[in-house]
């Protein structure tokens, strides 16, 4: 399964659904109108480079070895270097390529130190998935990490880089993780016990690494399915309500388009 191929078809994904729920206009600008965002945030790029580094880390684990801290740093530096030449990355005040290089390495040092040893078998890294809910376009996505323990329990992990620790609701009510469980069950893991996990690298002054385990019940799955159906129904009807009171508006890469939309006369 190739994620690029999957993305060419009409589809939904955990992030697109979350975008819609966060702000209908954001969804429309990015996914319907396909407007190129005004900039890429440095946080997003840092997260992306760390993500690729962790994928390298687990690639090694998959073949039975463990990357040293030095190797981990080298891997991160390689991925982060690709950002250096780009002019579309907007750094927050006080940050630049070098400060974030250091920040990324510090985060990975904590990760390397705190990551608990386990006997889990790595089944897949960055594994694309697709599944169908009745009457909807395919729901697609990528599992960051799929592992199993000796009893066959499946552990689905999503890597996160965050500015603060996650709240209980962010973990236990994450629609993304519910969708991942639904995807796993629809893709050959229906008979397994499934545990879901966020591996969260936290960019506090003293960087932290926290793992959060959670599960989803059948009720959670049913609720998520209903929500997704309603989201798709609204998208299909062209309902894109702006959520301009959202705290995320400050860092939104579609700010100008949003202002323009509000200043236009008419309903579109």
């Amino acid at each position: 399964m190739d994620i690029m191929q999957l993305r060419r078809q009409p589809h939904l994904s955990a992030s697109s659904i979350n975008d819609y729920l966060q702000c209908g206009l954001l969804y429309r600008f990015s996914r319907i109108d396909k407007i190129k965002s005004e900039f890429k945030s440095d946080s997003l790029e840092l997260g992306s480079s760390i993500h690729k580094t962790l994928a390298d880390f687990y690639q090694e684990k998959m073949i039975g070895s463990k990357l040293s801290l030095q190797d981990l740093h080298a891997s991160f530096e390689k991925h982060w270097k690709t950002v250096e030449e780009r002019d579309d990355v907007e750094y927050q005040e006080g940050e630049d390529f070098e400060t974030l290089l250091k920040k990324g390495k510090d985060l990975l040092s904590i990760y390397h130190e705190k990551l608990p040893d386990d006997d889990f078998k790595v089944l897949a890294i960055e594994e694309p998935f697709s599944f169908i809910l009745d009457g909807l376009p395919p729901i697609i996505g990528v599992f960051d990490l799929l592992e199993e323990d000796k009893s066959g329990t499946l552990i689905i992990t999503d890597w996160k880089t965050s500015s603060k620790a996650y709240s209980t609701d962010q973990i236990d009510k994450s629609l993304q993780l519910t969708i991942y469980q639904m995807a796993a069950k629809s893709n050959g893991y229906g008979d397994r016990d499934v545990l879901l996990r966020f591996d969260c690298l936290i960019k506090t002054k003293a960087p932290k690494f926290e793992q959060y385990y959670t599960i989803r019940s059948e009720v959670d799955e049913r609720k998520a399915a209903k929500k997704i159906v309603k989201v798709w129904d609204a998208i299909s009807k062209g309902i894109f309500i702006p959520n301009d009171g959202n705290w995320k508006c400050n860092g939104c890469a579609y700010g100008e388009y949003c202002d323009e939309w509000f200043s236009k006369e008419g309903n579109d």
Binding site: S151, I171, D172, Y213, T214, S217
Partner: protein
């Protein structure tokens, strides 16, 4: 080939006889106090030659009785001695996480108490406790053994004041046996049995035999979820014992799954 006949070495029967002893792994220490696990009492009772252990609900939890379950347990030793006691459970003396399983808790408590009488263990059974914070400290007398002995002693083992008031007079901690006739006499008038909240099944220790044990991932998830909810490792252990009648580390895979669900909604 000539076979040499070796005379089998036989240990004398006397040497084989082992004095019943409470295994230390069934004693847990919480906030400096020792508690015996129900599974340990059961183990010791079998060493003593337990012949019969039965339990019957004498009050189902209903709205009318404030959702209080009461069970009577009867144990019979190999010598024909009969012991009897009761256990109760209501929302005020069980952990919130198991408040839906009152009948089972009452059953376990009754059995724990009757087994303590039978095997002469003064230590309170952990399963007799309500919320740990509420119970430990004020009401639990200092145990007679400090976790390294077999727990036999003279402590009154009264970990549940509320329950003790309901216990049948004259058969606690005196070491006296109760005849079947006496048992009938002391049986309280049962409430009218209504529809039970839970089947009166006997919770048994799991995680051994052919049942798959809790997996590593499940164990990590349980610890992670409990930490996130501010549940201490001691409280977690107590919850496992109350819900599943067994120490956390011996949970079966199935029980671990259900424990994770329980913790997720705690």
């Amino acid at each position: 080939m000539a076979a040499t006949k070796e005379k089998p070495q036989r240990k004398s029967r006397k040497a084989q006889k082992v004095k019943p002893k409470l295994d230390e792994r069934f004693i847990i220490t919480i906030k400096g106090k020792d508690f015996v696990l129900y599974s340990g009492l059961l183990d010791l009772a079998h060493q003593h030659g337990l012949q019969r252990l039965s339990v019957e609900p004498i009050q189902y939890p209903t709205n009318e009785n404030g959702h209080e379950a009461i069970c009577r347990a009867v144990a019979e030793s190999k010598d024909g001695e009969v012991f009897s006691d009761i256990g109760d459970a209501n929302s005020s003396n069980v952990n919130a996480a198991i408040s839906l399983h009152l009948l089972r808790v009452a059953s376990t408590r009754a059995k724990a108490r009757v087994l303590r009488d039978m095997v002469n263990i003064g230590m309170t059974a952990l399963e007799e406790l309500g919320g740990l914070d509420e119970q430990i400290g004020n009401e639990i007398p200092k145990p007679s053994a400090s976790g390294n002995g077999n727990g036999n002693g003279n402590g009154n083992g009264n970990g549940n004041k509320h329950e003790e008031e309901k216990a049948v007079k004259g058969n606690r901690r005196s070491g006296k046996k109760e005849t079947s006739a006496k048992q009938k006499e002391s049986k309280p008038e049962p409430s009218k049995p209504l529809k039970p909240e839970e089947p009166a099944t006997k919770p048994e220790a799991k995680g051994n035999g052919n049942t798959p044990k809790m997996s590593e991932a499940q164990s990590r998830a349980i610890k992670n979820l409990s930490q996130r909810r501010g549940i201490s490792s001691e409280e977690l252990e107590a919850m496992a014992i109350k819900i599943f009648n067994i120490s956390l580390e011996y949970l079966s895979s199935q029980d671990a799954s259900s424990f994770i669900r329980e913790l997720q909604t705690a």
